[in-house]
Subunit: 96 residues, 2 copies
């Protein structure tokens, strides 16, 4: 059972993810990624999909041509959990 | 140069795409697809991505676990064009 992060835990975790915004209404974090074109954007999505499937933790995401927006929250925990932070960190490693 | 469909042309085209809804505000068509799980949903997205890249015509789309929502419109035409109808028909062939 995964529990949602406390406010202090969240603040601490988000310090390490400066590119991610916190969505208070959803208790979620999100980031938009911009690539050169669709090919690059969907290539990135494919890498994220493999990570998500392996972790059994899936993003809410959208794509328009070269833009990908990823929102992470943990439905089972009713909000942001350590699983979202781990996923965001794994995604950051892909784009760094 | 692709031109947007007239109202009559649109009505005619949508007769052949009963699963797609018309979004008047966007002059776009959209459909939600529901799969068994993320694996199937993203597999479908990969097939659509290859079609989109080949046609150089890309959807606005989102995914949440087993659900994929696809919106098609033609920015260059300022609305729904024959390219969207062709894309929707190709997507339908994937899921039929």
């Amino acid at each position: 059972m995964v529990e949602a992060l406390s406010e202090a835990e969240r603040a601490d975790a988000l310090d390490g993810l400066p590119e991610w915004d916190y969505d208070e209404a959803r208790d979620a974090i999100l980031r938009e990624f911009i690539f050169d074109d669709f090919n690059q954007a969907f290539g990135f999505m494919t890498q994220v999909a493999l990570i998500a499937e392996k972790a059994d933790h899936h993003p809410e995401w959208s794509n328009v041509y070269n833009r990908v927006t990823i929102l992470l929250t943990t439905h089972d925990a009713g909000g942001l959990s350590p699983r979202d932070i781990e996923m965001a960190e794994a995604i950051e490693e892909l784009v760094e």
